[in-house]
Amino acid sequence: VPAPPISRRLLLCATTAVLLSGCSDEPAAAPRSPATTGADPGSTTADPSPTTADPKPTAGGTDSPDTEVSADDPLVANAVAGALELAGAYTALVVRHPDTRRTTAPLRAHLLEHLAALGDDGRPTRPAPAARSRRRAVQAVVTAERAAAAARMEDAVAAASGDLARALASIAASHAQHAVELEEL
């Protein structure tokens, strides 16, 4: 098994000095499941969760320096999957209703900032087509943004790392702002 999580974590440290300060030079201890690095890009569920969430540290390794990061990996994967899916939803909205682009372009750009901060370079989920009714299409994205806000909130509360908790809570706040902004469309 290759070890993408390491470079991912390095990227995380490199790109998010503000967001996630305090990354240490801890050695990579336990190998981690590649399934936690991203969700199935074909998933169409509103709140994808990692398929093999296994936050348990290696046997007997509860005090290893990597425990905290490993336990939080599924939370990072959740946030990545949520952002990729929403980015796809914005694309679908703009394809169907081009006049929404002006309002939604900066919001979609935020999602890419979230992904960069989370150390992910994945591709937005291939979206389902947006509704023909403009109002319903926008409302679907509002609902998805609200769901993402709620999910990131819960993950922030659950995070072992305080810095990750702050990042996830801030991302939750960003999603909540998006929902408000979209409602004015």
Binding site: A169, S170, Q177
Partner: protein
């Protein structure tokens, strides 16, 4: 920063926010949009303040008291100034709550995370542009 220091800082911010909104609320016609928003924000910040006080008392800490007065950055002499003050209040509270999220756990962290989200939403209602990282990014 300890969780207690972050709780106290957030509480001090809430005291200031409540003051700021009481100023806005007292200067405009009661049925104006600005006052409606200010009254709602005032009441929400009071609820956060009470929860922070409760958290500190639960830790057997003395909650930081409200200041006798606060210096506003600019006179609140119109709706635009009121909106600017609202954005400033929510920005500052967001930063304080984000710091508390990082240091607190459990119910205290949940309180802070919810307060961060709510401040971010109110900032947009006051006319702020949405941000990628409310309370954390360069504000």
């Amino acid at each position: 920063v300890t969780a207690i220091a972050a709780l106290q800082a957030a509480l001090a911010g809430e005291h200031a926010a409540i003051y700021g909104y009481s100023v806005i609320g007292g200067r405009f016609d009661a049925d104006s949009g600005v006052v409606r928003l200010a009254i709602e924000a005032h009441s929400e910040h009071r609820a956060v303040r009470d929860a922070l006080v409760e958290a500190l008392l639960g830790r057997e800490e003395s909650p930081v008291p409200t200041e006798p007065g606060y210096e506003l950055p600019a006179p609140v002499d119109g709706a635009a100034a009121a909106r600017a003050l609202g954005r400033l209040i929510e920005d500052r509270c967001g930063v304080l709550h984000a710091a508390l999220v990082a240091t607190a756990e459990g119910v205290e962290r949940r309180l802070a995370a919810q307060a961060l989200v709510d401040s971010a939403v109110r900032a947009v209602r006051w006319g702020a542009a949405p941000s990628a990282f409310p309370g954390v990014g360069a504000t």
